[in-house]
């Protein structure tokens, strides 16, 4: 009996070596928070440099100092954000090693080499950042300026490589190469490179790259929105109005292509494992995508709302206003379609009335054909809003203006008709064919966007103005739309993080290393939402703190506000 007891004790001790515990939120909760906040900061420090480099380039090419200042303003924030990222990264590392030692051992076993490179690159990236920021005023003009811009580019390159390496680790957890075992080292034929360049690595890379740009843009816009609301002078208002616009523009423009990257990722996952695919889309997580649809609907609507209210300050844009309500209608209908759950929440009576868990009529909308069509329409509508915004105060002077506009219109009509037709026809073909339709739909929408945009660039060449944009004459509520955009996007990131991590269910490494802890259960959406909200609050709180710090520094650097001129609308992204 004594021996038995001792055995149990020993067993408990062994179990304690695989998993640690953390007070209050538990081991998983601690890692969750640390990982998610770290990730958000990482996205921030990757997204903002992209933003900075783009705006700096616009400043150089357009010889507009506003952009350069904007760029610098954000690089300053970056310096603080960088340390926050490193801090949370370190925290995550400590939590992982103490709470999941066995798992971390496995990862280290495989990836040690890449971890060293990662750490090294982090150094290089930091120094590039310092050079970039502190060299701003030194390499101000001529060739030196281009060199400085090159530094910014380099910063992005390092950041991207760092992200790709980290992505390799985490995608390995989702889709380890075939034949991997928990035994020490990798099996024959599988190298560290295989483990990094696994099935979902590149889709995740691209997905995150785009998402980071959106994220950077939306955080910048939120910052600007806050400054706009807090602004005391019309000049200040005009400046931050404009800054908010630039940030929102970049966020929305990149956001529009994000779903396509998402499709690719999902497709790769399905191909990798049916079980994972079904868990993700049809099974356990099916409702997560309804929540996602609601969030993305908010994003689309907030973006369009911002553009429409923004048209109030553009002379001549009022001629487009009568159309916005129809575009709104399209957006709302599409949002409803996208948000239609296939697995509805209903009481038994309601199920009985429907004759099953699926609604005989609305159930049709719950399928991929309907949803895909809806998303594509929302993208097209948003793009149309952009176009209207862009053209607000312009009168084209080229001789073929009318024909060009008609061609653009035709492109819109054709692509929407094609998307709609595929959406409807999709119900009459086998699933496998239907899935390929989503690719055609995306292709049609992308083709339309690129084609229309290309025509528009030439069409607007040398166009006349109907009057300057009255920057700063923006209603306050449009700025709140930007906040909604930023918060929603941050929350969405958290949700997608849960989706990505949750589909592994009770595996640390999918079908290789099991989570044998008592917290192996994938939590319900409610719990996940609490964690997501917590991380979002922590992150946004810290970001606000960083902004405040930036404000302090700004005041320290120059007491008097920078002279504000009349910035131009961004015409290319």
């Amino acid at each position: 009996m004594m021996i038995d007891f001792l055995t149990l004790l020993q067993a408990a001790a062994e179990a304690g070596r695989s998993y640690g515990d953390f007070p209050a939120v538990g081991g998983r909760g601690a890692v969750w928070i640390a990982a998610e906040v770290h990730l958000m900061f990482a996205a921030f420090v990757l997204g903002v440099p992209m933003f900075a480099v783009i705006t700096e380039l616009i400043g150089i090419v357009g010889k507009d100092e506003r952009y350069d200042k904007l760029s610098k303003e954000f690089t300053r924030l970056l310096v603080f954000a960088y340390s926050a990222t490193a801090l949370w990264g370190g925290m995550l590392l400590f939590l992982l090693t103490t709470l999941y030692p066995a798992f971390w051992g496995h990862m280290a076993d495989i990836f040690s080499m890449s971890m060293w490179i990662y750490a090294g690159l982090f150094f290089v990236e930091s120094f590039t950042l310092y050079l970039y920021y502190y060299g701003w005023d030194r390499w101000k003009s001529g060739r030196a300026k281009w060199g400085h811009w090159g530094l910014g580019l380099l910063l992005n390159v390092w950041g991207t490589i760092v992200m790709f390496i980290a992505n390799g680790w985490l995608t390995y957890m989702m889709s380890p190469p075939e034949g991997t075992t928990v035994a020490e080292g990798l099996p024959d034929g599988v190298t560290m490179w295989n483990a990094i360049a696994n099935a979902t690595w590149m889709p995740i890379n691209i997905h995150r790259l785009i998402a980071n740009a959106v994220f950077g843009g939306s955080i910048v816009a939120a910052y600007a929105a806050y400054r706009f609301l807090a602004a005391k002078t019309p000049e200040e208002k005009a400046h931050y109005d404009w800054m908010g616009y630039v940030g929102t523009f970049i966020a929305i423009a990149t956001f529009v292509v994000l779903p396509f990257a998402g499709y690719w990722l999902g497709r790769e996952m399905y191909e990798y494992s049916q079980q994972m695919g079904v868990t993700m889309m049809g099974g356990f997580m099916s409702w997560l995508w309804i929540v996602q649809a609601i969030l993305i609907g908010v994003l689309f609507l907030a973006a369009n709302y911002y553009l429409w209210t923004g048209m109030g300050r553009i002379p001549g844009a009022e001629r487009f206003l009568p159309y916005t309500k129809w575009m709104l209608l399209v957006l709302i209908v599409c949002w409803i379609v996208w948000g239609t759950p296939n697995t509805m929440i209903a009481s038994r009576d309601e199920f009985a009335a429907m004759g099953g868990s699926r609604h005989p009529f609305l159930g049709v909308l719950g399928l991929m054909s309907g949803k895909n069509t809806a998303v594509n329409f929302m993208i097209l509508t948003t793009f149309l809003s952009f176009l209207m915004y862009r053209r607000g105060n312009r009168i084209p002077t080229v001789t073929w203006a009318k024909a060009g506009t008609l061609t653009q219109g035709a492109m819109f009509v054709l692509s929407s008709a094609y998307v709609l037709w595929l959406g409807i026809y999709g119900y009459f073909v086998p699933t496998i064919t239907r899935i390929s339709y989503s690719v055609y739909q995306v292709a049609a929408v992308l083709a339309c966007i690129i084609g229309v945009w290309a025509i528009d660039i030439f069409l607007m060449r040398g166009s006349q103005s109907r009057g300057e944009i009255r920057w700063g004459e923006m209603p306050d509520r449009s700025q709140y739309a930007i906040f909604v955009l930023a918060v929603t996007f941050t929350w969405l990131m958290g949700l997608m993080g849960f989706a990505r991590s949750g589909i592994r269910q009770h595996w640390h490494v999918w079908e290789v290393m099991r989570d044998t802890s008592d917290r192996a259960v994938t939590p319900a959406l409610g719990y996940a939402a609490n964690m997501i909200s917590l991380t979002v609050v922590i992150f946004l709180g810290l970001v606000a703190f960083i902004f405040w710090l930036g404000g302090l520094a700004e005041r320290a650097v120059s007491k008097k506000p920078a002279p504000i001129g009349q910035p131009q609308a961004v015409t290319g992204g």
Binding site: L229, L295, G526
Partner: protein, 261 residues
Amino acid sequence: MFLTNIKVLAVGLAVIAFYTIIAQVIPQLESEVPEALDLSAGVTPEVLVTAGEDLFMGGAGCTSCHGLGTRAPNLRTDHAGEGTIGERCGSREQGCKEYLYESMIDPGAYLIEGFPPIMPDARRQLSNEQIWAVVAYLESLGGEVTVTADDIGASASAPSAPASSGAAPARTATTDPVQLLTENACIGCHQLEGAGAPVGPAFDGMGSRISADRIRTGIIDPEAEIAEGYEAFAGMMPATFGDQLSAAQLEIIVQFLAARQ
């Protein structure tokens, strides 16, 4: 300014709260963690019992005899007024779990009167850990679970299942077909001269239904072809008889059965 701060904060928090609430109002669903059958180190009695129950009720097929009470003693309910197995095994002098474990790996050792000696060696189907799990489950039926990880470890070095040891010899070198059929527990599931249970096709008249070759295949690879009407029992017959019988014994049985017109 203060009001603006409050407003911004309120909008942000309201948006977050909105999403959180949406996620809360839908019915909450946690994923299920399939039970890992890692019974080796640090296993608790509860895990063993649960795993054993699954095996007893399902995979191991124990209930096809022990559930009915006609082919073998019913273990889950009262038998002969001695209570469930967990209760009645306590009277065994070597201890409950030892008795159960031994009964499973050497069924001939403790025959209960009134029942045919048809139980196969559990090691043919179950791993050592699984056998202990079943023992733990049986103990839990009316008794105290005394199986520990220790037991599993201690018996792991014992001779392993005859099936996995490749060419394990048959228990005796007899050449009497009826004795072979009895010793190998065949008549537990196949009827011979009316005795036995109708789980598999009867031996009586087998020669008139199928050829000797088919009989041979059926013994060596029971899944190769399922006799009509016995589809529900597919998978029950162990595929270990080929290893267990010597070539000569196999042939004796085949010829014996083929001759049953």
